[in-house]
Amino acid sequence: MTAATRTGVTWRARLFRRPSPGQVVTVVLLLVLGGLWIYPFAWLVSASLKSSPEIFGRGLDLLPEQPVWENYARAWTEVGFATYFVNTLVITVGTVLLVVVRSALAGYVLGRYDFAGKKLLIGVFLVTFFLPEGYTIIPITQLTDQLSLLNTHAGVILGLGAGGQIASTLLYAGYFRRLPKELEETARLDGAGHFTIFFRVMLPLAWPITATVVILTFLYAWNVYLLPLVFTLSEPGLRTLAVGMTVFVGERGTDWSGMAAAAVISLIPVIAVFVVLQRKFVDSIAGAVKQ
C-alpha cells in the first residue's frame, strides 16, 4: 500500500533526525502494552509444550525444558478434540452458508425494491437489533426441542443462523441499493428472470459484502459458547471446541498442559484465518460500523 510505504519513509527519515523524547516514551509505552497483549498467547503456546508440573513450577520461564508434543496427541485423540473440531467445522460452515444465502436474498429485495410490508420488516429488524443472547436462549431451546432438533448439528446451525444476523442483511441491502438499475434492465432484455439476475449478476457483484459477511459469521459461529453449550448438555458427542474446553476443566482439572494444547488447537484456525485475511478483517469491521 502506498500509505504504508509513505509512513515507512517518514519514519526512517525521522530515525536519522533522532526521535524526540516524547516519541521515545510513546513507543516504549506501546511496547509495554503490546507485551501485555502478546504475553498470554506466548504463555499458552509454551504451556502446551511443557509437562503439567513444569507449567507452575518454573516461574516466568517460557521455554520448556524439552517440548512435550504428546500433550497435543492427548488432547486430540484421548479427550476428543478431534470430534469437537469436526463439530465446530460443520456448525461454522453450515451457519455461514445459511447466513450468506438468507441475508443476500433478503438484502437484495430490501435494497432495490418497494413492496407491501417493507417498513414493517425493517421496523422489526431495528427493534430486535440488540436482543441479548441470554434473553432468547430459553425459547430457542424450547423451539428446537419441539422440532426434535435438540442434539443435532442442524439444530445448532438453525439456532445460530436462522434468526438475528441483521447486520449482514443490512450490509447487503446497502450495497445492492448503490448498484445502477441498468444492470437489471440489460439482463432482462437478454431474457433473464428474477432468479437468474440475482444468482448470475447480482450475487457475484456483491462479493466484497459476501467476504465481509463470511468473515463476521465465521468469527461468530466458531467462537459462540452459550447456545452450543445448552444444546449439547446431554449429548457429549456434539460438543464444539469452546464447549469441549470447559468440559476439560470439569473432568481433567489438573491436566493443565493438555488443556493448553487443546486451547491452541481450538484457536489456531481463527488466528490463521485472521493472519491471512488481516486487512479484510479490519476493513470489514470498520466498514460495518460506518454503515
Binding site: I38, V124, Y135, E184, N223, M245
Partner: protein, 322 residues
Amino acid sequence: MTTTIRRRERPSVAASRDGGRRGLLSRLRQDWWIYLFLLPTVLGYGAYTVYPLLASWWFAFLDWPGFATAGTFVGVENFERLIGDDLFWNAFWNSIVFLVFAVPLRVGLALVLALVLNRKKTPFKGFFRTLFFLPVVTTGAIVGVVFTLLLDASGPVSLALVWSGLIDSPANFAANAGTSLYAGIAVWVWKWLGITLIYWLAALQTIPQVVHEAAMIDGAGAWAEFRHVTMPLLVPFLVIITLIDTVAAFNVFDLMQTLTGGGPSFSSEVIEIFIFRTAFQATVPQLGYASAAAVLFGLLTMAFAIAQALGMRWARGRTGAA
C-alpha cells in the same frame, strides 16, 4: 417487462405512471418473487428472533419445571419472587458494575490508543493494530479458561506482581470474592479492546487532514487540538461506540462462566449466568422463573439502548447546529 424496475422509484410516482393506484392484491401477486426471496429470512427470523422475544413474556408467567412438561400459569408470582430474591439483585448489580467499569475503560483506553496510532509519527502502526486486535478473534470461552491458569496464585500474573513488589504474597484475583468481578472486567477489556480501537481509527479517518493542518497553523498544541478540534467531531462516534460496547457488556456469559463461573460465592455472577443456572443447571429447572429474569434483563438492555439512541440524536443535533 420494465414495471419492476420502475417500482424502485417512489410508490406514488410508479402509481401515477401506471395510470392509477394499483390494488394491494395485484401488487402482492406481481411481487410474489420478492416474498419468495424474503421467505428464508421471514421464517427464520420469525421463529428464532421474534418468537423468542414474545414467548419469553408468556413463559415468565408460568411455573415450568422442564421442557418435557407443560407449564402452569401462575400470574406474576415469578416476578414477585424475583423482586425478593437477593441472588437476582446480586446478579443484576454485578451486571451494572461490570458495565459501569468495563465500558468506559474499553472505550477510553481504545480512544487513547487510536489517537496514538493515528499519528503520522508513530512507528509500527500496523503491527500494533494487529497485536491489539488478536484477542478479538479468539474464542471467549477459551480465553476464560486460559486466564484461570494465567491468574492462578502460582501463575505468571501473580508471580510478576509479587516480583515487582505490587503485592506482598501470591494471589488469585479470579478466585477472590472481592476481586473476581474486576478480574473479569480486566480480561474482557483485554479481549475486546482491539475492536473498539478499530472503531475509533475508522472514526478518526473521517476527520480531514486539513482540519489538523489548520489547527497547527493556528498554533494549537496537541492537547488543545484534541480538546477543541478533534473531540467535538468525535462526539457522535462516542455515542454509537459506547452503545455497541454497552450491548457487548451485556453478552459476557462465555467469558465469565469459564473464568469464574460466577463465583466465588456468586461474587461475579452476572444476569446471564443467573438465567443459565436457573434454567439449565438446577436439579429442577425453573424455566418460568428464568424467563422472568430474562424479560427484566431484556428491558434493562432496551432501556440502555434507548437512552443512547436519544443521546445520539442529541449529539447529531448539536453537531448539526455547530
